[in-house]
């Protein structure tokens, strides 16, 4: 490298070092500090949004499951020839039950066996997911009225805050303020309050209430 070339190189290096002064440590620290504040606030927003999304999803699934379960219950009760206690005794008006048994004739679509004797029991039992909540199970049998202790129970709803969702109102005895109208078929009052955070949480309970007509009953 000749002397001219070296001089040109050092001139260039000086020019570059003047233009690219770089940042001082203090400047860098200030920038990092500001960036930290911005990123932290953004991250906290993102984390809380994710938590909300997970919670909303859980609630949606629980409500959807309860609605679907109620739909199946409604179809079965519409077709049932009798709805009784699991012991086989008739339902007492105004009393809330944790379990009911429907007898389905062989023509009912949900009587998969098409047997002449087909019992479907809907019953509640403590939820395995949230302490204090209850799950609603369905169990069938072709011999005797099954209970929640019988084999083959299938969960149809969960996170219910009541253990006694079923009640039969009469014209004189109400179920949660609901009376059976005159000249009406028997109505089964079904209450399914869904709360994924347990019964202690009074807010955000999705309270599904329905009166299901027992269509093979008598107008009274």
């Amino acid at each position: 490298m000749g002397p001219t070339a070296r001089a040109r190189l050092s001139r260039r290096a000086r020019a570059r070092s003047a233009a690219e002064g770089g940042f001082t440590l203090v400047e860098l620290l200030v920038v990092l500090f500001i960036l930290l504040i911005v990123v932290t606030s953004l991250a906290s927003v993102l984390v809380s949004a994710t938590h909300t999304e997970v919670d909303a999803n859980k609630r949606f699934q629980a409500q959807e499951q309860a609605r679907t379960g109620l739909d199946l219950l409604r179809r079965e009760l519409h077709c049932a020839s009798a709805v009784t206690q699991t012991s086989g005794s008739p339902l007492v008006a105004g009393t809330a039950y944790s379990a009911i048994t429907a007898s389905l004739p062989s023509t009912c679509p949900t009587n998969v066996t098409q047997a002449a004797t087909f019992y479907v029991t809907w019953c509640t039992s403590a939820s395995t997911l949230t302490t204090g909540d209850f799950a609603l199970y369905r169990v069938t049998s072709t011999s005797t009225q099954p209970t929640c202790a019988s084999p083959g129970t299938v969960k149809r709803a969960d996170y219910l805050t009541t253990s006694t969702p079923f009640c039969l109102p009469s014209s004189a005895t109400a179920c949660s303020g609901v009376l059976k109208p005159p000249s009406s078929l028997p109505l089964l009052h079904v209450t399914m309050p869904v709360n994924v955070n347990g019964p202690a949480s009074t807010v955000d309970t999705y309270n599904i209430v329905d009166d299901i007509a027992l269509r093979n009953g008598a107008h009274t």
Partner: protein, 186 residues
């Protein structure tokens, strides 16, 4: 200086000007605002879906009570004073028909009230309007001297319309069903 050396000279790096910075900030804020708008529109849609499904459950429940009733008992209570007054919102509905309305319910049961206020599963309050009117499967309804449908099928049916209203519903939730009785020989 040769042309090659001039081309190799490093570009001046003076940082950004204020205008460049402002432009970058505008672009960034547009992007951030778009994200926020997506979030909030998702929230609004979720809220609306909750309202509609709650209103539908209430309408289903009311219709189920009519399905349980005997044909003769499907009627409205319009003579119980203040609690069964038909207001302007009620009478403005397309399902309302003053001439063909089925009245006569005298029980204290809330099912046959024209307008009720009910709490939905989501905890919000909804207004439940029930309309019951005679209607014809074919032919034109005539109410005098007797209730008939003229030529064709002479028997009127009862049409029950349940409309659930709420200020937070853009359009009310409606359910309609017709009820009939087998005409007896007598």
């Amino acid at each position: 200086m040769t042309a090659l050396a001039r081309r190799r000279r490093p570009r001046r790096e003076e940082g950004f000007t204020l205008v460049e910075l402002l432009m970058a900030m505008v672009v960034l804020s547009v992007a951030v605002l778009a994200l926020v708008a997506a979030y909030s529109s998702g929230f609004v849609a979720l809220n609306r879906a909750t309202r509609v499904s709650s209103a539908t459950l209430l309408a289903d429940s009311q219709m189920e009570r009519f399905r349980a009733l005997q044909y003769g008992a499907i009627q409205l209570n319009t003579s119980c004073g203040a609690s069964c007054t038909e207001d302007a919102t009620y009478t403005a509905d397309s399902a309302y028909s003053a001439a063909a309305q089925v009245t006569g319910c005298t029980t204290t049961d809330a099912t046959c009230l024209p307008t009720q206020t009910k709490t939905g599963p989501d905890g919000n309050s909804y207004r439940l309007d029930t309309y019951i009117a005679y209607t014809c499967v074919s032919g034109t309804l005539s109410t005098s001297p007797s209730l008939t449908c003229g030529s064709g099928n002479p028997y009127p049916v009862k049409r029950v319309t349940v409309v659930v209203r709420s200020t937070s519903l853009t359009t009310p939730v409606r359910e309609q069903s017709t009820f009939t009785t087998f005409p007896s020989a007598s």
